[in-house]
């Protein structure tokens, strides 16, 4: 697949007439190739701030600016955590505006410069985050045509546009450029907000403005090289590399156990460390600040405060039981989370076969490869924070609350951190750095340790499910009866979501998150009789969604149990699913399953395979959710319990494909990350603390685990584009579990499929 090179990676401020532009210039942030040295200069000029209302979400100028030099700057509140969405945004704007791709640069997630873009989660960057950019670019193009018609003295209908040049059809010498028409000036066009979501605003397409149709795209649907990769891979534009003049280094000392309170701390233990600046204690928040990073690490090691015993944890093994028996005041059974139709009890009594099972999915950790890091410069009148936050406006709000500053005096500047997969919805290091910087009245960088990132980052809660289903004599599902238990995170953005807030004793507020989500609770297939009851329990540990939250866990039980039913019916797993799907046919879902089966040359036969005497056995498994399908082929060593994945095939229908190579890349990664979660990932804890604290106690996949990966993308240019990070990863535990069953005849109903768990299951079979 050819890669079209050429989107520039420079962030360019151009116009002294724009307040935001002049901010970029005057604060030294005329950033070329994101020079980190320039960021330091931003600091020297003092922080400038803005509120959401300063960058109105209903003004074209909030999203787009064109310079005298023809450069186009796109402002988005969305951030790019390494999935390539910036590149897709540039492609979409290039098409709607009719400019060359290499004219476009983007400013992302700076609360002083970009409109509120909500949170960057839920695989909706392209669908929701891209929408206002498309609309503003199209509205800008219309305005430019009007200006061009006036300038050239012709009717709009006589004009053509290409690469930012407006020309008279049939008389190409009569032309004018976008820069000449509007360079360094405001559009002053108000746009109507259609609705505001947690993922940012959606704009109405103004009257007289039309979005491009598929046949008019020149950049969308092309495999454009990611504009951020040279910076990430070579220059290293990470938050970890933000260096601010006069910056100190901070580290935090965490309690030994969940619920421990600080009893005493002796500054004498660290006072003589060279470069020691200050010990900062606020409630249970304990931090040290030193001139140099290694000095702060030494102070962190030797401080050893005295703490009270913690409130305790139930240990990993009891966690599932406890989630079921949680105290009533920490448990909600929201009526909206009970789905029901038909009469499940009667249908189960009349069923030809009834199967029951219990499935459990553990706590999962995002384990960013670079532990989170932030730089804060807090002064008396305001604060500037550099962070990889996935939700800059909420981080701004949280930090204003924590620092008791007016929100307009807090500026959060997003800078990429390592991949976060949801974890940086809670930008913990930003709060740590802010507290330490306020105390020492100098800029402070806080780099979390590996142990902090593994143990103290918020984690994805577990899911426990009891499921029962009945089959008719004709092998269709007649009843589906589910009871599930899970937890959902505390609200972020209201105080309490960040670790430092908890430690300083800011009330997290009532825990009131909604439950798993109806799509996860529902039967994945049409059934005449359904009952699904979901209990949501306050999380045992600080919680934060991880890629495909609820979806991956629910698909593990849904698609594993469907496989159990297919096996009980003696029907091929693909045929069984297609039969059930045909009751209420959705063409896209059916076609993607058929495409996956065709891609692997699926051999139609029931699972499991006939019993074999070999130690090494091979099996295949399929799992699907909506328009994503994964087929896994595995080899199981029956003596050691080691599962080796041989080949993974992912088939996805993501609607219109903005960037085919980018999407393929994203799916390849999502599939392998899902494999890693399925085979080896689990947060473990004892009675006081998390015990999965590094890459030995919480391993992830290595190069030697890499199977063959095949990606099949169904091109749907007439459908809205959808994300792929979550859909690519959702099916993996179920697909691999089904493949293990196919190979061995043993069903493993708890992930991950570690050698010990597989060995034990095989021995008990």
């Amino acid at each position: 697949m050819s890669i079209e090179q050429g989107v520039r990676t420079t962030f360019l401020g151009v116009s002294p007439s724009f307040s935001r532009r002049s901010l970029i210039k005057s604060s030294g942030m005329l950033i070329v190739g994101f020079s980190l040295g320039e960021l330091a200069k931003a600091q020297e000029t003092g922080a400038r701030f803005s509120t959401q209302s300063d960058i109105p979400i209903d003004q074209l100028d909030s999203y787009l600016a064109i310079g005298n030099d023809e450069d186009v700057t796109v402002f988005t509140g969305r951030i790019d955590m390494g999935t390539g969405n910036r590149t897709c945004f540039a492609q979409m704007v290039a098409d709607e505006l009719d400019v060359a791709l290499d004219r476009i640069s983007l400013v992302c997630g700076d609360t002083a410069l970009t409109p509120d873009g909500g949170k960057t989660t839920a695989s909706d960057a392209i669908s929701t985050g891209g929408q206002p950019l498309r609309v503003t670019a199209a509205a800008a193009r219309k305005k430019l045509l009007e200006l061009g018609a006036e300038h050239l003295g012709v009717q709009i209908e006589q004009l053509a546009v290409r690469d930012g040049i407006v020309s008279v059809t049939g008389s190409l010498s009569r032309q004018v450029s976008y820069g000449e028409l509007i360079g360094n000036q405001r559009f002053d066009i108000r746009l109507e907000v259609d609705r505001i979501t947690l993922s940012g605003p959606l704009l109405k397409v103004p009257d007289g403005v039309s979005l491009k149709t598929v046949d008019e795209y020149r950049h969308v649907r092309q495999s454009v090289a990611r504009i951020d990769l040279p910076d990430r891979m070579i220059t290293g534009t990470f938050c970890q590399n933000v260096r601010v003049t006069g910056m100190l280094h901070g580290r935090c000392i965490r309690p030994p156990s969940v619920g421990s309170n600080l009893l005493s701390v002796d500054e004498g233990l660290v006072r003589d460390i060279p470069g020691f600046v200050q010990l900062v204690v606020q409630g249970n928040f304990v931090g040290v600040v030193c001139e140099r990073e290694e000095q702060a690490i030494q102070a962190q090691k030797v401080l050893e405060p005295t703490w009270s015993d913690g409130t305790g944890l139930p240990g990993s093994e009891r966690a599932y039981r406890d989630i079921r028996t949680a105290a009533p005041d920490t448990r909600t059974t929201d009526p909206t989370q009970t789905l029901s139709h038909g009469d499940v009890d009667v249908a189960l009594m009349d069923a030809a076969k009834v199967l029951t099972a219990t499935y459990e999915y553990p706590w999962n950790a995002h384990t960013m490869l670079g532990p989170t890091c932030a730089v804060a410069d807090v002064r008396e009148d305001g604060a500037t924070i550099w962070s990889g936050t996935q939700w800059p406006r909420i981080t701004q709000k949280d930090l204003a609350f924590l620092l008791d500053l007016p929100i307009e005096n807090v500026r959060v500047i997003w800078v990429e951190e390592s991949g976060s997969y949801g974890r940086l919805a809670a930008a913990d290091a930003a709060a740590d750095a802010a507290l330490l910087s306020r105390a020492v009245e100098r800029p402070v960088r806080v780099q979390w340790t590996r142990l902090e990132e593994h143990a103290w980052a918020p984690h994805q809660p577990p899911l426990a499910v009891d499921v029962r289903a009945g089959l008719n004599a004709d092998n269709t599902i007649v009843a589906w009866d589910v009871e599930s238990w899970t937890s959902t995170p505390h609200d972020v953005g209201r105080g309490g979501g960040l670790l430092a807030m908890r430690l300083v004793g800011r009330d997290p507020g009532p825990w009131s998150r909604p439950t798993l989500g109806a799509s996860a609770l529902n039967s994945p297939y049409p059934v005449p009789n359904l009952r699904s009851v979901n209990h949501t329990v306050e999380p045992l540990l600080r919680a934060c969604y991880m890629r495909s939250p609820g979806g991956l866990q629910a698909t593990f039980f849904n698609e594993s149990f469907i496989d159990e039913l297919a096996s009980a019916a003696g029907v091929d797993p693909v045929a069984f699913r297609l039969r059930q799907m045909s009751l209420e046919p959705d063409g896209r879902s059916i076609e993607v399953l058929q495409a996956a089966a065709a891609a692997v040359n699926w051999d139609p036969r029931p699972s499991p395979k006939p019993v074999s005497d070999s130690v090494l056995v091979i099996g295949r498994g399929v799992a699907r959710s909506e328009t994503s399908v994964t087929v896994a082929e595995v080899e199981v060593d029956r003596s050691t319990g080691i599962v080796r994945v041989i080949r993974l095939t992912a088939a996805l229908d993501c609607g219109l494909i903005v960037n085919p190579d980018g999407l393929t890349n994203q799916v390849e990664q999502a599939v392998l990350q899902g494999m890693s979660r399925a085979l080896m990932e689990e947060v473990t804890f004892d009675n006081s603390k998390i015990t999965s604290v590094d890459w030995i106690t919480h391993p992830i996949m290595k190069f030697s685990d890499v199977p063959t990966v095949q990606v099949v993308l169904l091109d749907r240019p007439d459908e809205a584009p959808q994300g792929a990070g979550e859909p690519g990863t959702t099916q993996l535990p179920a697909a691999i579990g089904n493949a293990i069953f196919d190979a061995t005849g043993v069903r493993i109903r708890r992930a991950p499929f570690t050698p010990e768990r597989v060995r034990t299951a095989l021995a008990q079979a």
């Binding site: 891979m233 951190e417 390592s418 991949g419 590996r450 190579d661 990664q669």
Partner: protein, 155 residues
């Protein structure tokens, strides 16, 4: 504190610091190099890997005193975004990254290995890289990029 002379990317730097300081922090904080990255500080992930006289070394667990006078190469010593080294170009050509945080360490590890064993088999390459973690799981493209790089190496 003591005076330490470091030879990094062909230049000699004279620094006054605690000789037990891990090399990583000297490279990152004193020499303001962005290539070597902090990942674990435990020698478990490879994000901080640099090349010291042909060997891939985890700079987070090496005291600076032990590398005085030795020739140290970081990612910056290979090439820059405007003039990438062939191994960097291969990663760009294959779009071999998610977030890119691990890539510097992987490039350094792979380069040190392929300099010694240019005709390495895929299995040998995987073995050489097995201590480098990539959380985004870009492994398939990283291997493709290294295959591309390998093809142009003199054997």
């Amino acid at each position: 504190m003591s005076i330490v002379n470091l030879n990094v990317n062909g230049q000699t730097h004279t620094l006054d610091l605690d000789p037990e300081t891990p090399l990583l922090f000297v490279l990152r904080n004193d020499l303001t190099l962005n290539g070597p990255r902090f990942g674990c500080g435990l020698g478990q992930c490879g994000a901080c890997t640099v090349i010291i006289e042909g060997q891939a070394i985890r700079s987070c667990v090496v005291p600076v005193s032990s590398v005085v006078g030795r020739s140290i190469t970081t990612l910056e010593g290979l090439g820059m975004a405007e003039s990438p080294h062939p191994i960097q170009q291969a990663f760009l050509d294959q779009q071999a990254a998610g977030c890119g945080y691990c890539i510097s360490g992987i490039m350094m590890t792979a380069k040190a290995f392929l300099d010694r064993v240019p005709n390495a088999t895929r299995a040998q390459l995987i073995n050489a890289l097995d201590g480098n973690l990539c959380r985004c799981a870009s492994h398939t493209r990283i291997l493709k990029a290294l295959q591309q790089y390998q093809q142009q190496l003199p054997v």
